[in-house]
Amino acid sequence: MSASYAHPEVLVNTEWVASHGKDAGVRVVEVDVDTKAYDEGHVPGAIAWAWNTQLCDTVIRDIAPKAAFEALLTQSGIGNDTTVVLYGDNNNWFAAWAFWQMKIYGHKDVRIMDGGRKKWLAEGRDLETAAVKPAAGKAPYRATDPDYSLRAFLPQVQQAHKAGSAVMIDVRSPQEFSGEILAPPGLPETCQRGGHIPGARSVPWGKACNDDGTFKPADELQRIYGAEGVVQSKPAIAYCRIGERSSHTWFVLKYLLGVDNVINYDGSWTEWGNLVGAPVEKGAAKSVGQA
């Protein structure tokens, strides 16, 4: 783990989790893209959250409503002062989505296990198969009002696009960015038009990770995002298809590189690519000078 991350306290390594995952005041939570992964074996003592039922509003398209979020954390045995350690498959893709929501609702001590599920398995660490049923917290969890300074809504993105006031970072694959495909290969198409927000920079989310699933060192991350025009002095908006991959990039920029003014546009391409009359650009990414 690099000491030069802006906020190294939000990362723990697998060794730390092996030693402290069952400590009083610590709750380890697995959040996977593939919600069946937990059942085949998980970090001892970890509970699981399902991104598609527990970390969203299941009626309207939105993040988990405040009351539902509070109930989830209370049932998970998490109090306001609990250290929550999130991890998951695909290099912590949905763990970052959960992290983003926990910060929206004001949880103070939330961390990500660097390398996620993949690293834990690859290291041959202990696994449990029985689902963990934590005792509910003694006091109900109290979330803060949502901090929407971390979240971009459509009008804000439209305004920023029109004014050129933010760096738009498209974190999808190059083929989704160009418009060659409308969804990740093998998944259902969820938009009417392919392409990207005009002027957006293409930085696929996985560029932030090493082969073992851990985050790249700060200087390397700085080179990757700096080359695409991400700087401290200009706001940045990250987007993908439904907002989960971009929460990973949001985490990297905000907590590892310390870019203060970065927000996650979770409406993302399923919103923009379905809007009547929204400007769309097609084609492969260009270098900053060509844009």
Partner: protein, 73 residues
């Protein structure tokens, strides 16, 4: 229980790159196929041998990838 014989490799299926992760849990072999760049899961298979798990995962991935339309840009 621990994951054993963990391996990961990229294979090409009909022009798409697929990440194949396989490991053994107890007596069973687990294989997951996902597309490389977005990392979305295409198939998860549990079988009695590595070969069977990987063959079935790749077959399912191929089936899903065949549905992906490529549009002219």
């Amino acid at each position: 229980m621990k994951a054993e014989n963990f391996s990961e490799r990229i294979v090409e299926v009909d022009g798409w790159q697929v990440n194949l992760t396989t490991y053994q849990l107890g007596e069973k072999w687990h294989t997951k196929a996902d597309n490389v760049s977005p990392g979305a899961a295409l198939a998860r298979i549990v079988a009695d041998s590595r070969e069977e798990a990987e063959t079935r995962a790749l077959a399912r991935a191929k089936e899903l990838l065949a549905r992906t339309k490529r549009n002219p840009v």
